[in-house]
Symmetry: C2
Subunit: 199 residues, 2 copies
């Protein structure tokens, strides 16, 4: 059967390994590239290759970093007494956008998921416990996602952290700002009532 030239077939095969990219999408991307200036193709190839060579996990918190330690862990202006635990590095970007948080982070690199075979040893939990045991930390904020896996992970971490004598908190679950009561599911509404505070 007639096929594309080998280079195109290899590009389709490589691209379809990415999440959400089927053969059709890969083809569309490749045809787009083949019509683009060669420099643009090489820039994309270089940018992807650099992910292998120029991005490392921060030795302290596991965040994506260009250096051994990420800019947040290296900053003298961050509060070393608080660690915010998140699932993935993009959660850090989301929290940093608020400009509300001045402490450090810890990236778990996933969440507990028995169905997908992700257990405590697959996450960066030992590293977190080591950081807390080192002594400077007073509070650990659990900011895993508010879904069943994120909640289970938070519960597990709470059990591991409490015995170390540190304050363990969980981010508030409630009604998103700008939303309305009638459009919020009942579990969220229940959490919002449970988490009510004096005004």
């Amino acid at each position: 059967m007639y096929r594309y030239p080998p280079a195109v077939e290899r590009a389709i095969e490589s691209l379809t390994k990415l999440p959400g990219i089927g053969p059709r999408t890969a083809e569309r991307m490749i045809f787009f590239l083949l019509k683009a200036p060669k420099g643009e193709i090489r820039t994309l190839a270089q940018a992807i290759g650099d992910l292998a060579d120029k991005v490392v996990p921060c030795v302290t918190c596991g965040n994506l970093s260009a250096e051994k330690r990420c800019p947040i862990c290296s900053s003298p202006r961050r509060d070393e007494s608080v660690i915010c635990v998140v699932g993935e590095p993009n959660d850090i970007v989301a929290i940093e956008k608020t400009s509300e948080y001045q402490g450090l982070y810890h990236v778990l690199s996933g969440t507990l998921s028995p169905l997908e075979g992700v257990g405590p040893d697959d996450l960066r939990i030992t590293e977190l416990l080591h950081r807390v045991k080192a002594g400077k930390v007073k509070e650990v904020i659990l900011a895993t996602n508010p879904n069943s896996e994120g909640e289970a992970t938070a519960l597990y971490l709470d059990q591991q952290l409490k015995p170390l004598g540190v304050r363990v908190t969980r981010i508030a679950r409630g009604i998103p700002v700008g939303s309305s009561l009638e459009h919020v599911d009942e579990v969220t509404l229940a959490k919002a009532l449970e988490g009510r505070r004096e005004i």
Copy 2:
């Protein structure tokens, strides 16, 4: 504001230039890659880079090719008296899958589209007329897409080709095999009636 490491930002920027890839999708692809073995990242980077260096348009028909002439134009078994005109190289792959066609191809690299500023000079029309004028061609099959732009392109080509004394045909528009009358739009049904043949 806190950002990802420069290499990640560059990869997001490059990927979002591709069609259908927004910043979120690009992020998801990059996080997936950052968790994959480094060899896999490099394979993808190499595969994309090779598109710039190892794929050229066939000098005769404009199909994607690894050599100067594509395997179809170089094959001694193809019928040189028929040229099938298509919009893009993936149309060739679709037609070759039928195993019904033994002639040659000609890729226009687009279709006429006044709205997008694509005129006759932007397509490989002069090259097609040259091939027909060379004398061996007896029939030109117009296999542009059966939408308004493809029909306009076919009409234009018909006007250009007829004076050269060559037979010009258009692929049949009708009801797709396996479909049913009630689910087909009226324009297609009208074309199916118009294109009826003795059984």
